[in-house]
C-alpha cells in the first residue's frame, strides 16, 4: 500500500488541465499557414504525395493532408506548419487552408444538426470502428482516454456496444471487406446519432484513395458531423473537436 502510494506521488500530476491551450513544440505539424510568396505553383502541387495542394490560389486541403511536411521542406517560404492542433471542423470545405490567410479552422456552430448539442453536451458515448485503419489513429483514440488527456472528465467515452453509443467514430479508408460491418454497426445505434471521421484515411481515403479494395459508399448516404484531420489525429485535436461539436 505504501509502495503504491509512492508510485502515485512519484509520477506526480499527469493530466493536462487546459486541453485548449497546450503549447506543442515544433516540429509538431498542426494547421499550415500559406504565405503569398510567389513560387512555382505547379512544382508545389506536384510535391504533395496525396494531391492535397491545388494552385491559383494555392490551397491545402487538410482532409487530404498526411501532415508529412514535404511541401514545407520544399517551399519553406510558401508553407509553414504552425503548432495549432485545432484543425477540425464540422464542414468539409472549412478544412481547406488558403494562401494569405492565418485564421483558426472555422467551426460553424449554426450548422450543427439540431439536437446534437442539447442531447450530447454532458455525455457522449462513442463506438469506434476501424475500417482499414492502420492502428495509428486507433492508438491515439485510446490515448485520448488515458491519464494525460483524460477526456472522460467531459463525459466523453468509448463504449463496447453500438447499442450504448451516441455516435460512431470511423478510422481508415473503409475497406470493401468492412463496408457491410460499418453499415450494420451504424444501424444498430439508437437515434439521434452522429458520425465522426478521424484521420486522413477516413476523410478522403488518404494514400488509399482510389484503391479497388476500398468502398466508401457508406459516406454518400449520411451527413458527417465532424471531420478530424491528421495521420494520425493527435488526441488534443480529437478531444477539442468533439468539445466544439457538443458544447
Amino acid at each position: 500500500m505504501i509502495k503504491e502510494a509512492k508510485v502515485i506521488i512519484n509520477n506526480g500530476r499527469q493530466y493536462i488541465p487546459d486541453l485548449k491551450n497546450v503549447k506543442l513544440r515544433a516540429p509538431f505539424r498542426g494547421r499550415p499557414v500559406i504565405s503569398t510568396a510567389k513560387v512555382d505553383e505547379q512544382a508545389l502541387v506536384d510535391v504533395c504525395p496525396l494531391k492535397a495542394i491545388s494552385a491559383n490560389p494555392v490551397r491545402l486541403d487538410l482532409g487530404k493532408c498526411s501532415f508529412c511536411g514535404e511541401c514545407a521542406f520544399a517551399f519553406p517560404e510558401k508553407i509553414q506548419f504552425s503548432q495549432d492542433y485545432r484543425t477540425s471542423s464540422n464542414i468539409r470545405e472549412n478544412l481547406i487552408v488558403k494562401e494569405g490567410e492565418d485564421n483558426p479552422i472555422a467551426f460553424y456552430k449554426d450548422k450543427i444538426r439540431t439536437g446534437v448539442r442539447k442531447t450530447f453536451s454532458k455525455s457522449l458515448k462513442l463506438r469506434q470502428i476501424s475500417a482499414g485503419g492502420d492502428n495509428s489513429c486507433e492508438n491515439e483514440l485510446n490515448a485520448s482516454g488515458n491519464a494525460n488527456f483524460d477526456m472522460g472528465r467531459f463525459g466523453i467515452e468509448f463504449v463496447a456496444s453500438p447499442r450504448h453509443a451516441d455516435g460512431i467514430v470511423i478510422t481508415g479508408p473503409i475497406t470493401e471487406n468492412m463496408a457491410e460491418a460499418v453499415q450494420v454497426c451504424y444501424d444498430a445505434m439508437p437515434s439521434p446519432k452522429i458520425i465522426i471521421l478521424v484521420g486522413v484515411d477516413a476523410i478522403s481515403g488518404g494514400i488509399f484513395a482510389g484503391s479497388p479494395a476500398i468502398n466508401r459508399s457508406f459516406l454518400d448516404k449520411y451527413e458527417v458531423d465532424l471531420y478530424i484531420p491528421g495521420n494520425p489525429a493527435h488526441p488534443l485535436t480529437f478531444i477539442n473537436a468533439v468539445l466544439d461539436l457538443t458544447r
Binding site: 516540429p27 482499414g132 471487406n177
Partner: protein, 507 residues
C-alpha cells in the same frame, strides 16, 4: 540433382540479378526445401509467386541464421501446366500461410494442404465467389459443444477480425481466426503509385504501430535496388527510432495487459510512461508514431547532440518510474495468478508454427534479426537478444519488460559512443533510379518480429512486384494454438499478450 552449396545466398539489404536465382523443377525445389529446413535455425522469410511470361514464377527466401545468409530459390509453373503443386506444408508446417496466400491470389491448388482457405480476401484474388462474410469455418457436429463468434468489430478501440471458438462449456477446444477485413490493396498500390515519396508514405501506413519497422525496411529495400549507400548516421538513426518504437509499444502493451487483469494503477502508470517516449518521437520528427521520420536516401530530421541530451533525460525519468512500477506489478500475486501457465506454446510448437520475434523468444527460440542478420547499425552496436522459457501469457508479459530494459541499455551505449552531427546526413532523395531485372530483400527486427520486404524490378527498372510480410503472418496461428484447452474468458489476455497486427496481415 542440384546441390545445396550451389544455391544462391545473399545478405540482408542486398540486391541480386533475377536470373542469378536458380529456377528449379518443382520436384528439385521440393526436395531442396525440405533439406534446407532440417536445421531449426533456418526459417522462411517469404514465399510468393508473381506473373511472368504467362506463367507463375515462385520465389522463396529462407533465412539461414547461422551463416547470416538469405537463401533464394525459385521454380516456375507454366500456364499450360496443371495448376496444382504438392504441398510443402505437410512436411514444413510453417509454410502453411504462404501456400494459402498463393492459393488465394492465383488459384494454385496445393495438394494435401491441410487448411487451404482464403487468407485476406484480397481484391485481386483468383476466386471472387468467396466472400469475406462466407468464410469456410471449421465446424463440429455435436450436442455438447457450442460455437462462439466474435467480431469483426470488437468491444474496444481495436482493428477488426473474426474469432470463432468451439467450446465445451467454458473450455475452448478450437479457435479459428478469420482476417482480411483490413485489406486495402497495399502491395498493388506500391506498383501503382509512381512517386518515391508516395510509396514511402504508403509504407508508413502499412501498420501504424510499426511505422518505423515497415518504413525502414521499405527504404532499405529501395536503396538496395538503387545501389545507394546512405550516411552511417542515418542508418544509426533508423535503428534508434526502431528501438524507441519497441519501448513505446511494449510499454503500451504492458499497460493493456494490466487493464485486462483489472490492475488499474499499472495500467495508468505504464500508459503515461508510453506517452513520454512517443512525445519524444514527436519532438524529434513532429509525429508521435514516427511518421515522416524515415525517408529514402536521407532524412529531414537528423538526430543532434541536443536531441541526445533530451533523450537521455527522458530515458532517465522513464526508467526510474518504469522500474518502480514494474517492481510492484510483476510481483503482484493477482497478476501472476492471472497470467501464469495460461496460453502456453512450447518451444517445439513454436518451431513448428514458425513463429518469429517476441512470439518466438517467449518460447525460448532465438529469432532476432538484429542479431542474426544485422544491418550496419546493429553491426556497429550489437544487440544481445533475450529469451524466456515458458511460452505462456506471463512469459510474453515479462519478456516485454526485459526487452524494454535491454533496448534502453542499447540506446544508452549508442548515446555514449556515437557523436551525432547533422552535417553528416543528407536530404531525402526525390527519386531513385532502380536497377533493372533485380530482386532485393530487406529484413528488420521490428517490435513484433521480422518485417520482410521484397521487391522485383522489370527490364526498365520499374517495380514489377512488391511483397510485404509482417511478422503477424507467422504468429496468428500461435494465438489460435494458445487458446486450446484454455477458458474462453482468458482470450483477452492471450490476444493482448500477442498484440498481433490486423492491417499488417491484411495489407
Amino acid at each position: 540433382m542440384v546441390e545445396l552449396q550451389n544455391i544462391l545466398r545473399i545478405k540482408n539489404n542486398q540486391s541480386v540479378d533475377l536470373n542469378a536465382i536458380a529456377c528449379l523443377s518443382y520436384d528439385e525445389f521440393y526436395e531442396l526445401v525440405l533439406k534446407i529446413f532440417e536445421p531449426e535455425e533456418n526459417h522462411c522469410l517469404t514465399y510468393f509467386a508473381y506473373k511472368k511470361d504467362g506463367g507463375l514464377q515462385f520465389i522463396m527466401a529462407i533465412a539461414d541464421d547461422k551463416n547470416q545468409d538469405i537463401i533464394l530459390l525459385s521454380h516456375l509453373l507454366k500456364s499450360g501446366e496443371k495448376q496444382e503443386l504438392k504441398s510443402l506444408t505437410e512436411k514444413v508446417f510453417a509454410l502453411h500461410i504462404f501456400e494459402r496466400e498463393i492459393y488465394e491470389n492465383f488459384g494454385i491448388h496445393f495438394l494435401n494442404h491441410p487448411w487451404l482457405k482464403p487468407v485476406r480476401f484480397a481484391h485481386n484474388r483468383a476466386n471472387k465467389e468467396l466472400q469475406v462474410n462466407n468464410y469456410p469455418f471449421y465446424t463440429i457436429q455435436s450436442d455438447e459443444l457450442h460455437e462462439v463468434g466474435v467480431g469483426p468489430i470488437h468491444a474496444g478501440i481495436i482493428e477488426p477480425g473474426h474469432f470463432r471458438f468451439i467450446c465445451n462449456g467454458e473450455n475452448v477446444l478450437h479457435l479459428e481466426i478469420q482476417l482480411g477485413w483490413q485489406h486495402r490493396g497495399v502491395e498493388q498500390l506500391f506498383l501503382e503509385k509512381k512517386q518515391l515519396l508516395q510509396r514511402n508514405i504508403l509504407a508508413e501506413n502499412i501498420a501504424g504501430d510499426t511505422v518505423i519497422g515497415h518504413t525502414t525496411t521499405f527504404v532499405q529495400n529501395m536503396e538496395a535496388l538503387a545501389g545507394l549507400k546512405i550516411p552511417e548516421q542515418t542508418e544509426v538513426e533508423r535503428a534508434l527510432a526502431m528501438e524507441l518504437e519497441r519501448i513505446a509499444i511494449h510499454t503500451g502493451d504492458i499497460a493493456a495487459l494490466c487493464i485486462d487483469a483489472a490492475y488499474h494503477l499499472g495500467a495508468n502508470v505504464f500508459g503515461i510512461l508510453r506517452t513520454a517516449i512517443i512525445n519524444f518521437t514527436q519532438f524529434w520528427c513532429g509525429n508521435r508514431l514516427g511518421k515522416s521520420l524515415v525517408r529514402a536516401g536521407g532524412t529531414h530530421f537528423p538526430f543532434t547532440e541536443d536531441l541526445k541530451k533530451e533523450l537521455l533525460e527522458v530515458l532517465l525519468k522513464y526508467e526510474k518510474q518504469f522500474l518502480e512500477m514494474a517492481d510492484l506489478t510483476y510481483r503482484l500475486p493477482s497478476i501472476q495468478n492471472r497470467f501464469d501457465f495460461v496460453g502456453k506454446i512450447t518451444q517445439n510448437q513454436a518451431a513448428l508454427l514458425g513463429t518469429v520475434g517476441l512470439s518466438a523468444r517467449m518460447s525460448n527460440m532465438v529469432r532476432d534479426i538484429r542479431v542474426t542478420h544485422p544491418n550496419a547499425a546493429f553491426k556497429k552496436f550489437p544487440y544481445e537478444t533475450i529469451t524466456v522459457e515458458n511460452g505462456d501469457v506471463f512469459s510474453r508479459f515479462i519478456l516485454r519488460k526485459k526487452e524494454i530494459n535491454q533496448s534502453i541499455a542499447w540506446i544508452r551505449n549508442l548515446m555514449d559512443n556515437y557523436q551525432f552531427d547533422a552535417s553528416q546526413t543528407e536530404k531525402p532523395k526525390a527519386s531513385l533510379t532502380l536497377k533493372p531485372n533485380k530482386l532485393a530483400i530487406s529484413i528488420n527486427e521490428a517490435w513484433r518480429g521480422e518485417v520482410c520486404h521484397c521487391a522485383i524490378t522489370d527490364e526498365k527498372g520499374e517495380l514489377k512486384h512488391y511483397k510485404v510480410k509482417d511478422p503477424s503472418m507467422h504468429n496468428w496461428k500461435a494465438l489460435e494454438m494458445s487458446l486450446r484447452n484454455v477458458e474462453i474468458s482468458d482470450f483477452p489476455i492471450n490476444n493482448k499478450s500477442y498484440n498481433l497486427s490486423y492491417c499488417g496481415h491484411d495489407l
